[in-house]
């Protein structure tokens, strides 16, 4: 072996020895890509079923358009209110921010309530036919995401109280919940298009 070779190193200072920049949002975004792929799999399955498997004779698969459309509007508005909450927090108006958060929570719960009403009024059940199963799997999986999102916003709302861990200078939790909420809304828009409009 050629022992004369020396590794090429320089004394240029490394990043702060005792910590590193915060990559948690980047990590969350990567996770949401993965989560989005789960939905993509469900969408692909649904579209293939639609294209290849005809609805059996006598099977019922009918969707009303009004309630889901109202729900879509609710979610889109909640994305806007959450955005306002984020802006308010970053400019230090914590009271305003908390009010917008509360509004977002209310809209999220209203969405879930709307979904429940829809579930109970639909003329088909989970195991009635292939489309019905896929419909409930897709909307149910999304509903779980919304439920988790509402819980996250509740936690953020609590942490943003005066003296809480979220403030103008430290608001990772709020930003993470906001990114997640926008993601869940975006998925709903695609889902609405594929399940209800197509």
């Amino acid at each position: 072996m050629d022992t004369s070779l020396q590794p090429v190193t320089t004394a240029q200072p490394a990043s702060e020895a005792h910590g590193h920049p915060d990559f948690r949002l980047f990590g969350l975004a990567t996770f949401l890509v993965a989560d989005g792929m789960t939905f993509a799999g469900f969408f692909a399955a649904y579209l293939t079923f639609r294209a290849v498997n005809p609805l059996p004779e006598g099977a019922i698969y009918e969707l009303e358009l009004l309630l889901p459309t109202i729900n879509t509007v609710l979610l889109l508005v909640s994305s806007f209110t959450f955005h306002r909450a984020g802006t308010a927090c970053r400019s230090g108006r914590m009271q305003t921010s908390r009010r917008w958060l509360l509004l977002s929570i209310a809209l999220g719960i209203a969405f879930l309530a709307g979904q429940m009403v829809e579930y109970f009024s639909l003329p088909f059940g989970l195991t009635d036919n292939l489309f019905a199963s896929t419909f409930y799997a897709l909307t149910g999986f999304h509903g779980l995401h919304v439920t988790l999102g509402v819980i996250c916003i509740l936690i953020v709302w609590f942490q943003a109280r005066p003296g809480g861990s979220i403030s103008q200078d430290s608001h990772f939790g709020l930003e993470a919940a906001e990114l997640y909420w926008h993601f869940v809304d975006g998925i709903w828009v695609i889902l609405y298009g594929i399940l209800y409009l197509l």
Binding site: M1, D2, T3, L5, Q6, P7, V8, T9, T10, A11, Q12, P13, A14, S15, E16, A17, H18, G19, H20, P21, D22, F23, R24, F26, G27, T30, F31, V33, A34, D35, M37, T38, F39, A40, G41, F42, A44, A45, T48, F49, V52, N53, P56, A59, L126, T127, N129, L130, S133, T134, A137, F141, S170, F172
Partner: protein, 555 residues
């Protein structure tokens, strides 16, 4: 905003000594070793199951175990070897140990997530193995769990199998997120992407595949469990479902899974060969682009597993062409490795022997892979032992040989002691002969029509099946010198010194084993990880990289 380094948060809470390997440690090096040892234990279990399979197949009749048991054994063997041995070890073990060194960091981007990802694996593995003792028997539908077969075999075992694979998939996704963030975001200031050791690129590509493909499998398995538990009909033809959709979704993950197992191995070989050949890695840039091409192409070839599933002609055409294209970037990498070896001062130690055997095996597996991509040929050998032979050349001859090579190469870094070369070579000879004896005849058996996953076969196939079983026995024996070597060396092996191979990559520029913070003081800035060889006149090593040396043709 910065977050504190978790390693320094609670100094008293992290156990010291060997106990830390049983703890929820946040140290990437400890987690790497945890993955390695845990994976190896599962390898022994999976190997024992392979022994059962080969013993059963030593005679044409189903006489050693019952047919149902045989199905359970082959299902557990495949699932354990893929999800609990190769994927966790090539990604989790070597990725976690090496990537922070290579990017000049003191730990991974998310140390806690890293520990969570590891600690999902032992419970998932134990869950899977314990399903064998369930009342209704373990999963019997193979590692692919194709419906409707997986809907008619005992439900409890199938559900436990799904649960276990979901846990392992979650672990894999967490790991992938961590690697992407570490390679892209945690690089030491001054270190450029194109100066990273090749293993970083391999792990980046692998992790992109993990993040994009694994969730699809998770969603699919949830749908399958709905079919089993709630009697929905997603994949149940008698309820109007569509089994081919399952196959598409399954292979959308499981074909990239091959690259998830083999791309890190490509990266590891790219680290080992230059050190022991004392030459720069040939064609650095083409290596990087090849990896990324494999990532992109790897996502659009899945249906070549389904040529007999009623796929329409246009689909066959597309997937045949896409699959054949993968041979191009893979071929580039092989010629780069050969060129790296060419004219080098090769130290023919165990690490290099296993690496060269990897090249040999993988080329053979690659050639049969290109053959299998051609529809007329594939239809002839589909679901025969030809396929079994092919993929064992890829995952064992490829990935597992590289795991062994890496073990001999990095063991001195892990423990500070050098593995015994004689035992290492004995391990190599036994493994190489045993492996080829075991799997080469299976190509012939498959071409002649012996179906896979069946406990009984036509007596005309007896001879070559017995040859194959002898090979399996040799492989089992080959584990002994490895085990003896690893265990004895850990306590009484010769002390290796910090850099026994005189290597230039950053993990060697610290003590062996390294301190908790990886380097005492500043992390070194290594811009030429492959700057080996003699550099006659006019070359200032501080200014140019190994790549430049090669492109100038004077190295």
């Amino acid at each position: 905003m910065t977050v504190a380094n978790p390693l320094e948060l609670e100094p008293g809470l992290q156990p010291q000594g060997w106990l830390r390997y049983l703890s929820f440690s946040l140290d990437h090096k400890v987690i790497g070793i945890q993955y390695l040892v845990c994976g190896f234990l599962f390898y022994l279990v999976g190997g024992a199951l392979a022994g059962v399979i080969r013993t059963e197949l030593a005679s044409p009749m189903s006489d050693f175990v019952g047919r149902d048991t045989y199905n359970e054994v082959l299902t557990l063997h495949g699932t354990i070897m893929i999800f609990l041995w190769i994927v966790p070890v090539v990604n989790g073990a070597f990725g976690n140990y090496l990537i922070p060194f290579y990017v000049g960091a003191r730990d991974m981007a998310f140390p806690r997530l890293n520990a969570v990802a590891f600690w999902l694996i032992p419970p998932a593995g134990l869950l899977l193995i314990s399903s064998y003792f369930l009342a209704g028997a373990a999963s019997q539908s193979g590692w692919t769990a194709y419906p409707p077969l997986s809907l008619t075999t005992p439900a409890a075992g199938q559900i436990v199998w799904i649960l276990s694979v979901l846990l392992l998939g979650g672990s894999s996704i967490f790991g992938g997120i961590n690697f992407i963030a570490t390679v892209l975001k945690l690089r030491r200031p001054g270190l450029k992407l194109m100066q990273l050791p090749m293993f970083c690129w391999a792990m980046l590509g692998t992790s992109i595949l993990v993040v994009l493909a694994t969730p699809v499998l998770a969603g699919t398995l949830v749908m399958l469990s709905f079919d089993i538990i709630a009697h929905t009909g997603f994949f149940n033809p008698s309820l109007g479902g569509n089994v081919v959709v399952y196959q598409h979704l399954f292979w959308f993950y499981s074909h990239p899974a091959v690259y998830i197992m083999v791309l890190p191995a490509f990266g590891l070989v790219s680290e080992i060969l230059p050190v022991h050949a004392r030459k720069p890695l040939f064609g650095y840039t083409t290596m990087v682009y090849s990896i990324m091409a494999i990532v992109v192409l790897g996502l659009v070839v899945w249906a070549h597993h389904m040529f007999t599933s009623g796929t329409p002609p246009w689909m066959r055409l597309f997937f045949t062409i896409a699959t054949s294209f993968i041979a191009v970037p893979t071929g580039i990498k092989f010629f780069n490795w050969l060129a790296t070896l060419w004219g080098g001062k090769i130290a023919l130690n165990s690490a290099v022997l296993f690496s060269c055997a990897f090249i040999f095996n993988f080329v053979f597996g690659g050639i049969t892979g290109v053959a299998l991509a051609q529809v007329p040929f594939d239809i002839h050998v589909h679901d025969t032992y030809f396929v079994v032979g092919h993929f064992h050349y890829i995952v064992y001859g490829g990935s597992v040989f590289v795991i062994f090579a890496s073990l001999y190469h990095w063991y001195p870094k892990f423990t500070g002691r050098l593995l015994n070369e004689d035992l290492g070579r004995l391990h190599f000879v036994l493994t190489f002969i045993g492996f080829n004896l075991c799997f080469a005849p299976q190509h012939w058996l498959g071409l002649n029509g012996m179906p896979r996953r069946v406990a009984e076969y036509d007596p005309a196939f007896t001879t070559w099946n017995q040859v194959s079983s002898v090979g399996a026995l040799l492989m089992a024996i080959s584990t002994l010198p490895l085990l003896i070597n690893v265990v004895v060396t850990a306590f009484r092996g010769p002390v290796a010194g910090d850099n026994p191979w005189n290597a230039l990559t950053p993990e060697w520029l610290t003590s062996s084993p390294p301190p908790v913070e990886n380097w005492i003081g500043e992390a070194p800035l290594v811009t030429e990880p492959y700057g080996y060889g003699e550099h006659p006149g006019g070359f200032d090593l501080d200014r140019i990289s190994g790549r430049d040396l090669w492109s100038s043709g004077k190295s």
